[in-house]
Symmetry: C2
Subunit: 458 residues, 2 copies
């Protein structure tokens, strides 16, 4: 009987205890949102970061950002703040590009253009050549070499507006940016130009990284604004002999020393087990990378600060990593994974925000069925109109190497990104395009996710 | 045995039939989204509507909008297009308001100000009076009459940023706009000014409707930009004798003839049963009411057109109503309900969009448990990142009178409205603040809801 009573008590009160614990969690979660929406810390940091200018790997701006970021972290009171050296590529656009159409009558039309990241320069004096337009990489393969040789290939791939997720449309056409110069050069083209990978209808060109292969000539690669692409298309329709003039002054420098910037709170039960989250600190060299990925940096740095401010003492070590070089090399993510492996670190989960600073909608997860199930059981703990679902697949470019190296499950924040590809990699990705409430809801949602994983495991 | 075989067949194939039907529905729903995202009809219409200027009830602009709207509907090929006469109030702002602070040293500071809709003018020459600041209506009640008499009451109610839904914060402070002049006049004040009901931090004032009561003097009522309110607050802190000068030239005209604009597709099985949806065509007289509620008009007109374009022949009559006078009288919604009752019309459901043209997130429902359950069972049919949930409570101001008159269940579109109260009722509610993809997702979501209710009943 002596043993029976406690057992009965446990049976009676356990549901109450669980319920009370659940309510405590809800109160804590609510406090995350209250604080971010009130003090707008992520938004204020983002404003400061954006004021430093663009942050392409190897640039002065990237070094200013690293210094600024470490300084901010140092003032936050985290247990550990450090730089992780990363050797990064260093490419420079040089003086502004120039492109124009010269039609058969000798008329000239200016085109808005940006070199694709990593492109070689045009020869001194530029390139003037006739143009062969194709709607896709595939369509180029159907052309004979003599139809392409000595010409500029114009990949006019239209952004599919019908995907609910514009990211899917981006993925469907971005190959022309990444691979266009290779494919065009294989057929003897002298340059490759693309219609910007953009969901917008303006004439602001979008850059992004492009590749070359060792076995083929590296030819200049550039992206036209959408309206410029339409203009070129129209002129070629009535005047197939129209030529394009292209002048670019890009330069490659030797690889240079850079850094991931890292802050952590040491776990008070299992300090050896790590929850890592991050965004990438580098940006393209046009605009200031406010959404891509200043927002993701502030989401994750903000989430770490929020845990501290709220007096949450995590069981596991929680680490925020501002990765360097996501845009044109991924060296930060690769180095992080290599170091984690060589240091024998154990990661519970890796979380990334790199979809923009818009209202959160869900999490995309690359994990096993039981992890998915656990995450799904928490959806109701997030306030309405923040995280509404867990979907299969997702993560982030920077945490991909860790996931591939040791199978760490990865989670990516999904936001309401209908506008993201209007400004992505363009001069329009500026601080003013970020809304404070939308940004801060992302910060609190990531803090909530980290908090729940820390409390309940994954 | 003869009867047994068909029964077995039914048992075998019924799940397959249901599955096939379900797949057909999904294909149809996907086609709604494909079409809106491709042709952007709602967005194009919204641009045209916004080009006509603001549309306050009784104004020239409102009549232009009615004529334009009927013209658009006439070209769409609906079964019936008509105007429903509505007598509306007619208030005019007159020449721009002016407000300034005069401090004890004789210095002047301009304030950004708008008359609250329905306000009387100031006396010729304006009002100059000292100011008593209160944080809320409640706080005013604590003051003695002699502390208020002859002064201007300044309701400086701060917008609570911590609600995930800014609409909740709006609801919490809007009473100072609606009732401030009444409460202030009861204590003998000469005017009432409020901090604009705004989630923003700029200095663009927000108007909206205010009330008077017959038993109390009607005193001028105005709203300051948020920065102007902060300035006034700061100056009063150090100089409680500072005065405010206010000059407004508003006028009331006699009630005037206006119209709800209505289009419908006649049901081919139960034409007597009506699914009604709508937004309000009137707007405030600053900005052009792009989100409030041009977006809702285009969501619902666009949804009706989408059914037609997609060859969906609804079983029930589907009606889109562009209500007049939601902003300052609700006469359109009241007239619609009165006519529905007197004509003995049977409504299955009333749907409203009046939360802005942002990405859809859910539906708020005022209905019974079985209706809620049915709606919830359809959530999975909406594409991810559109409608994610059904919540209890909701509908819309314009459909409220019908709901109250005959119990018609009502449903309101919930959008990702984090930015809505930055621009609501202000000069910033312009076409450029609406994103085409976000708007069109709302149109397709409403078409989907109507389609499902028409197919399966509610």
């Amino acid at each position: 009987m002596r043993k029976f009573i406690p057992f009965v008590l446990v049976l009676t009160f356990l549901p109450l205890l669980i319920h009370a614990q659940h309510e405590d969690r809800k109160i804590q979660i609510r406090a995350f949102y209250d604080q971010t929406l009130s003090n707008r810390q992520s938004y204020q940091w983002l404003e400061d970061l954006c004021s430093l200018g663009p942050r392409l790997s190897g640039s002065e701006g990237s070094l200013r950002a690293i210094e600024w970021m470490k300084g901010v972290m140092d003032t936050c009171g985290f247990d550990r703040v450090y730089l992780q050296p990363v050797k990064v590529p260093h490419w420079e656009r040089g003086i502004p590009e120039k492109a124009e159409i010269l039609d058969s009558r000798g008329l000239r039309y200016d085109l808005n253009v940006l070199a694709i990241g990593g492109s070689v320069a045009t020869p001194e004096g530029g390139i003037l050549a006739s143009v062969v337009e194709v709607p896709s990489l595939m369509a180029l393969e159907d052309l004979e070499r003599e139809e392409v040789e000595g010409k500029i290939v114009f990949f006019n791939s239209i952004f599919d507006q019908t995907n609910i997720s514009p990211g899917a449309s981006y993925g469907a056409v971005v190959a022309s940016r990444a691979e266009g110069a290779i494919r065009a050069a294989r057929k003897g083209a002298v340059a490759s130009i693309i219609r910007s990978v953009s969901s917008g209808f303006d004439d602001v060109p979008h850059t992004g990284s492009g590749h070359y292969e060792a076995s083929t000539d590296s030819i200049p690669a550039a992206a036209l604004g959408v309206q410029s692409a339409d203009l070129l298309h129209q002129i070629l329709l009535r005047d197939p002999l129209a030529k394009v003039y292209l002048s670019m002054h890009c330069r490659w420098h030797p690889d240079t020393e850079s850094f991931n910037v890292i802050a952590e709170i040491t776990g008070n039960e299992r300090p050896d087990q790590i929850i890592v989250m991050g965004g990438h600190l580098d940006s393209w060299d046009v605009g200031v990378g406010a959404h891509d990925d200043g927002a993701g940096c502030m989401h994750t740095l903000g989430a770490l600060k929020l845990l501290l401010d709220q007096g949450v003492r995590p069981k596991h070590t929680v680490r925020a990593v501002m990765f360097m070089n996501e845009e044109n090399g991924l060296r930060g993510g690769i180095t992080y994974a290599e170091q984690a492996i060589s240091n024998g670190e154990e990661h519970i989960v890796a979380i990334e925000s790199d979809a923009g600073g818009y209202s959160p909608r869900g999490f995309g997860v690359s994990g096993n069925a039981s992890q998915m199930e656990k995450l799904e059981s928490w959806v109701g703990l997030f306030p309405r109109n923040t995280i509404s679902y867990i979907s299969r697949g997702g993560g982030g470019a920077d945490i991909g190497p860790l996931n591939r190296a040791d199978g760490t499950p990865m989670i990516g924040l999904i936001v309401d990104g209908q506008k993201m590809f209007d400004l992505h990699h363009s001069a329009n990705d500026v601080f003013e395009a970020v809304h404070p409430r939308e940004l801060e809801l992302g910060t609190a949602s990531i803090a909530t996710l980290v908090y729940l994983i820390d409390q309940y495991g994954l």
